[in-house]
Structure formats: structure tokens, C-alpha cells
Amino acid sequence: MAESAPTFTVASAPGRLVMAGRIDERARLAELAETVTAGPLVVDLGDVAYINSLGVRDWVMFLRRLAERGVEVTLERCAEPMVLQMNMILDARGHARIASFVAPFACDGCGWEGGRLIVTAEVLPVVEGGGTPEAECPECQGRARFADFVDRYFLFLA
């Protein structure tokens, strides 16, 4: 589990950014917003490993600047650290659409713990109906249960 302090990286293609690593004061996200061209933007957050409070502040500023310029943002594969921030602060999601995100699961059979990718459109009806999402354990193929509070973890989708 050695998280050998991966620094922040961002790969860009027209209409698409892929962020990965650690979002902290060294990520300079607010400046990144200026390089985004007009039109819809997809941001892939699947490999974000960590974010601290200065990273959150920069992330909020990144979203605000894009909103000011009318850029429609869709977030894909939001990693758990990003979901937790969006659950904590309304501004951390802003006006962005959430296409998919990672949710924590645990397997009582073999003890596996980890994240599974969830598609918003698929999980929303389950959660809104009072249900709890399930996933298959990648190690023993048993049933992994959702490992957080349902009324808390999906707050950011509302």
C-alpha cells in the first residue's frame, strides 16, 4: 500500500482532463482552469490518491473559474477522497455533473476492502429507493457490501 508520494499529474486532450496523484498546494489547479478551452469538459478523477485542504480550495477555485466561463463540467470516476470532499462542502461539486464515482466496499468472506466504480445513473434509483448498492468481491467473487453510511456517502449526488 506504499503510496510513494505520487505527485500530481494532469493529462489533457480536447475536452478532457485526467487528474492523478496528490492534490495539494503544489498541484496549482486554479491556474489549470485558464488553459481549458471553451466547450464541455470531462474531468477524470479516478486516480486521485489524496487531497488536502489547500487542494480542496484550489479545486473549488478551478470549478468556479470554469463555471464563470460557462464551461459545462462532467466528473468521471471520482475517487473516494474527492467524493468525501464533495460530501463535506457543496462548493466542491459546484455545478458539475457526476457521471461515475468510486464507492468503498468490503467482503465479509475474504476480508477484501476496496473501491468499486459506480455509474451514477445506475445507483441513484437504488439509493433513492432506500436500498444499498452491492458489488462483487474481486478476490473471491462473493458479495461485497457497501462500507460506508448510505445517507452520507451519496449526499453529493443530490
Binding site: 500500500m1 506504499a2 488536502n52 489547500l54 473549488v60 462548493d91
Partner: protein, 321 residues
Amino acid sequence: MRRVIVVHRDRKSQRTLSRVIASGVGPVTVVETPAAARALVDGATAAVVSAEAAAGPGFGELAAAVRTSGGHLLLCGEGGPTAVLPLVRDHELDHVVSSDPVDLADELPLTLRALAAPAGLCELGAARYLSHGARLEELVPTRTHERVALLGRLREGLAAMELSARQERQAALVADELLANAIYDAPCARDEARRESARAADREIIPAERPRLRWGSDGRHVAIEVTDPFGAVSPATIRAHVARLIDRSTSPRQGNGGAGLGLAMTFLATSQLVFHLAPGRATQAIGLIDLRARPDGGRALVPSLHLHTEPGAATSGRTHG
């Protein structure tokens, strides 16, 4: 503590709380309402109150009476942040304890005994919250930008503990935020502009201003402790920052130091966050992360919060941030 009163309507919780307190601390009286508890306050009294009872009538009077008695009020965090944090803010509470019976058996006797002892900075620090003999690693930054290297060393230590990715991230975050607060915020708590500019430049930290980072684990909890020699943070500031979690209203902007975001993030990353505050002299923050496998993935419904302030100095810390 002359007397411990439990205010709870639920029979099962009454039994659990009574057993934990009577076996770990001393005699306990159980009542169902704040008004009934208020009538019993006599001398330094500790009242352990359910969030449900605290939301009902008479709680403000009970909280005030307990404070006047020189005692302490402990709120059970059974309702989640939106139920608990408004009570903490509105009634200036210093203690939220877990609602989980297993956690409570650890936390409540420890807290009540700590409150019975003279308040103030605890010599043991994080060691107090770990099993006897747990080893603490210690690092002291000599330059501001050394924080990053220190956090790297912490992360290596955490990795060797084979924690889950989430536990490792939570522990690293607690150290990151507390250390940033001790290095950048505490020295210039009254000067936002200086705080912003302070981050860019790497500067030496003079020995008298160096914070200390310690961490360790006993297999049940990882403890992260940061002590700074400023004592700039007040109980009111801490309550105000965590209270913003109620409506998710924290609004970070350039120049407002993140609006206490780091403190709120630290709080949510822990299962228990403890502050020993000696205003104007020192702040010691200890974050505990529960390593035991739990159905909820190890996150407490609402983390426990303990604000221990040196007597006589409780109101001198001014609110900032």
C-alpha cells in the same frame, strides 16, 4: 468529579453507560430528562447526555448548571453530524463521545478520568490514548517546507503498518493538516495576509517555534499528535469550524486560509479528535483513527471531539479564521 449523571431515555443505552461508568470510574445516577439531571447537579458534576435528550427542553439550563458547577457535559454522538454539531456550537460543548458501546467502553472512562485530573497540556500526549507500551515516532521540522518530507516519512511508517488505503490516507491527512496549521497558521493566527504569503517561502523555524509531530499505533488505533508552542486556537474557533459541516457551507477562497477547512477535514478523518489547549502557550491536537474492522468501514457516525482547556484561560483565546 463528585458525581456522574447519565441522561438517556433508552433502557439498553442506560445499562451500557451505567456499566461502563460504574466499573471504569465510579458511582453513576441515571435519569431520563435534562430537567431531572439539572436538579441533581451539585458540586463538580459530569453529565453524559444523549443527543435526543439534548435536543429536548431544559438542555441549555443543564449545560449552564454543569458549567457553573465546574463540571463537564459529554454529549453522545448518536445522531450524526447534523444532530450533534448544532448542539456543540449552540451550547459551547467541549465533549462529544461515541454512541458505539464498544468504543464507549474505551473512551468514556478515559475521558472522565482525564477530566477529573487537572486540565491542561497532557505530558503523555497520544500515549494516553494507546495501549501501554505503544511506541511513538517523533519528528520535528526545522524548516517550513520540510513538512512535505516529514509527511513522506510518516507515510512510509504507515505503509509498513499495512493499513487499508483509506486508513492510511486518513492518518496522512490528519498529520498534513495539523502540521500545516502548526507551521503556518498558529504563528500568524491574527494576520491572514502573512499566513497566505508564509506558505510560498521556505524559511527556518526557530527552535522555540518548532512544532512536534508524533505518531504510533497499538493495533487498535493509529494516533497522530501535533503540538505547537503558540496556543493560538480557541475552543470557540474549533467549534465554529466543525459546525460548518452541518450545512456543508464552508466556502474556501484565496486569502481566507481555507475557512477552517483543514480542521473540518481533520475532524471527519478521525474517529476521535482531542485538543489540549493552553491558550497563548501551546496547542496539542491528537487524532485517533480506528483500525478495527467495522460494518461501516471504520468511520464513526460522528467522530468524538474533546476540547480540554487549561482552567482560567478558557475564554482568553479569541475566535479567528
